[in-house]
Symmetry: C2
Subunit: 529 residues, 2 copies
């Protein structure tokens, strides 16, 4: 994907571009790649060349520092460790001349705020990233989540663990660093740190003031971000927000996104007997909650993945013609993704991938009842629980969408409760569902032709040495409504991570080439005219 | 239920009987209790009275010894600990004059064999019990599974922990001892040990030779029992087997059973992508295996609990007229059970409970995909797994029943595999199910009028001081086909545990009154004319 990582020996950008494109066409089976109109990559400038030289020479030191950062545990609920990491980051940014401080609220992880002025700055850019991480189940990780290791390529593709580079040694951009938050989202913060080092070392001139906001609760749905912004509204004043989170497009091309999906979640518990029952003594007599929950969930989606909850698609905002045009230029990588993920078929295959992301989803993220495998016992479980997440699109109200699902559950004959049913309730209703609904935040989609955004897109093309992919939305969720709706400021999303980074899952990783891209990208943006 | 525990102060059995019956009618809401014809309880004899006196005086010591036995971990897979327990039991039986030894096979838990001759014995009784226990998930236990505690009554009914009795102190028969295997099945073995002590102490005369077979792998489906019996067939020669496992009837009355269900099990894994995917980036695109498994399981049973797998009921042996008659005399306790378990409704309520047990069941004992609750993450899980158990009735072939379910899975459009699918298989089939089928053993049902069985029934009535409930089958499964089909010997099942013992689940317990019943029962049987 990324110019220099893929073509280290090519010196002419034209040859390199051709090589990259050929590689993409072969290895990704891109089906509909309209390169001509889009192939608008600016020439590499001397600042970028200097920065690239810096990071190539310093690879050993850079990975050593990244490894050290990844060792800080940061599960979003683990406040003590999150705080330690926050203090460490404050120190790191202060050492680079950024006025940095922790903003605090009671019973909340801190928010890191930093400011770096530049003489003669043409603009003020505000940068969002988050330093907390998803919870982990260490037993599911090949190595510990906070014991970073280097692999020759991704584990999934047969990569093997390799030693950390020695001073002066180059690092294959295809290699991966494994560890929680390597891509989501310590990677972006670390790329900024190293960009500041690189610009200082190469005496490059920054053309913008910078403001940093590093969220410590993104993986918990940023429950306090709104209050942080309310309390410190005067700090957050600038020309454009850059949101540094999420992965680049699956084609590997540099990517800008103009929206994100919103999110709500729901946990449903269905009840059998008050305790687990012996499946012999009561099998065929006592109702099985796993079966009843299975039937309930089955009723929510058809075989093609269409949600059957009444009204679920009614509030979806139509796709604009401008967005439709952008969608038409996104490389179609469905077949390649199916191969990569080992899928013969996907939900509703008649629609483009991006169009599926512009619809609200209803996903079972977990289902648990009794036990399976070696710890399975011959019981009729007393409860069955499913966790759902609803990814929302522009137009969907987070609370209303949950209400639609609740109405559906009632239509299936379930009596809804908000806590475990008492004996009276149990004896009154044959089907009981405890529903805990958590509305989070709505989706956003912003205009695709903002002048500064156009410049950022050029910077991304330059740093990635490929035409940028412009996405009307990311599939993932971020609390961006606070910025677009509450602060009324424009934003673009500038992801750097590889798409197959195992975000939110065990064995999260960052492709080294994507770390390089992050440094090159921030260096270009911070110095662009 | 049990004479003396319930009526400690009554000296005339008539009054006691009436009192017991009244209590039952009130507290259990028994709907159809045809007491007249059945109320055939013999007079308490002096041997039984002596034994009861012994156990009342010795309550403190007896519970101390039971507590010590329950501390031995015995999860059936934990061979090292199972072996320690086996050696301990051999010592205990040897100390009571029983010629006891371990029978061994490679890669198997040992079988304990014991023999106790009696001068002038009228018969030889063979006693089966098992000393291994179900696997445990310690975190789900209120106290440790092998840290026995005493409760004033069941936890579910508001019991509280109470101190162990002091010497001379009586123990409320309603109190419960909690610990893995307290009822399933260390309780029966322990009752035998204490019976031998009581008979010795009271100088009672045994009228039978005894042979003991204590299985160490019952909870794993007794995979080696057949080989043990083949290797030592000459040892197992006698007049009747007594199978000491399972709970008494839910009415609390003494119980004999003439059959058990067979069992087979199946584990089904359904596949999504090769790894967990971010539910934002791929939600609405990547198929969700939890949903697909939910749809598959939903297709297997209707809302009334009838199995929809083609041919599932075809091989069921019809209920005989003799069995039908016995069924008619079983107390109907459905309403009471529903109240006890907090169930407004059960599967197919138009049929009697016992008739449901005479049909094969299809039960989801576990369903697992992704995570729920605090550890839920926003992913599309890569797999979903369900564990099923099939309880079989007379006529069902264990292997054939699994084949019917497999055929059903294929009819739902799944490609069946026996191990995790490779990439080629993944890309070829949109729905893949890994099915691991484990046929165990068939059901048995034996004649209800065997002369020795009739005597055992009288002993049970005497010890329990209530008419015995005769069940054509228990709902649970035991490998009894080996005795009825391979050794061609008659058997009756003689359970002692309370029905709400949490068998196979956390917080397993034995009601103290049921331990007393066990001692009284074995004392009566071992000394009957």
């Amino acid at each position: 994907m990324l110019a220099h990582p893929i073509c280290p020996s090519f010196k002419t950008s034209v040859a390199c571009r051709f090589h990259v494109l050929a590689l993409l066409l072969i290895s990704l089976s891109i089906e509909n790649f309209s390169a001509a109109g889009d192939f608008d990559v600016p020439e590499v400038n001397s600042t970028l060349q200097d920065v690239q030289g810096f990071r190539e020479k310093q690879s050993c030191q850079i990975l050593k520092e990244f490894r050290s950062l990844l060792k800080y545990p940061n599960s979003t609920q683990d406040r003590a460790n999150v705080l330690k990491l926050a203090k460490h980051l404050v120190k790191e940014f202060q050492q680079r001349g950024v006025e940095t401080k922790l903003l605090r609220l009671p019973n909340a992880n801190p928010l890191i705020y930093g400011e770096l002025k530049s003489p003669g700055a043409k603009r003020t850019l505000m940068i969002y990233a988050h330093y907390d991480g998803q919870p982990v189940v260490p037993s599911r990780w090949k190595h510990g989540p906070w014991e970073p290791v280097l692999y020759s390529k991704s584990m999934q593709e047969g990569g093997r663990q390799i030693p950390w580079p020695k001073p002066g040694q180059k690092v294959d951009p295809e290699s991966r660093i494994y560890g929680r938050s390597s891509s989501d989202d310590k990677g972006a913060i670390f790329a900024i740190l190293k960009t500041l080092d690189a610009l200082k070392k190469t005496n490059a001139k920054r053309t913008c003031n910078l403001k940093f906001l590093f969220d410590g609760e993104e993986e918990a749905g940023s429950p306090n971000l709104r209050r942080y912004l309310e309390n410190h509204k005067q700090l957050f004043d600038g020309d454009l927000w850059l949101f540094c989170d999420g992965p680049v497009h699956q084609s590997g091309r540099p990517t800008l996104a103009f929206g994100v999906r919103g999110i709500s979640s729901m946990e449903i518990t269905v009840y059998g007997a008050r305790r687990n029952l012996h499946s012999g003594h009561y099998g065929n007599w006592a109702p099985n909650p796993a079966l009843n929950l299975a039937k309930l969930l089955s009723s929510m989606k058809d075989e093609k993945g269409n949600v059957l909850v009444e009204g679920y698609y009614d509030s979806v905002l139509p796709i604009s013609s401008e967005e439709n045009q952008a969608i038409g230029q996104i490389p179609i990588i469905d077949r390649e993704l199916r191969r990569k993920f080992g899928l013969a078929q996907t939900e509703n295959e008649n629609e483009l991938f991006m169009k599926r992301l512009l619809l609200p989803s209803l996903n079972i993220k977990g289902f648990s009842s009794g036990s399976v495998g070696d710890s399975a016992r011959n019981i009729i479980p007393n409860t069955a629980t499913a966790s759902l997440d609803l990814r929302l699109v522009k137009g969907n109200d987070p609370r209303r969408m949950l209400q639609l699902v609740e109405a559906h559950i009632e239509k299936q004959g379930f009596h809804l409760v908000r806590k475990d049913p008492d004996q009276r309730t149990r004896l009154k209703y044959s089907k009981i569902a405890k529903v805990i609904s958590k509305p989070s935040y709505p989706a956003i989609r912003t205009e695709m032709d903002h002048p500064l955004a156009v410049k950022i897109a050029q910077a991304a093309s330059l740093a990635g040495n490929q035409p940028v992919v412009k996405l009307p939305t990311l599939g993932g969720s971020l609390p961006l409504y606070l910025f677009t709706d509450y602060l009324s400021q424009p934003l673009v999303i500038v992801p750097i991570a590889n798409f197959d980074n195992n975000q939110h899952a065990p064995n999260e990783n960052l492709r080294i080439g994507n770390l390089w891209y992050g440094i090159d990208l921030f260096a270009t943006i911070f110095t662009m005219e």
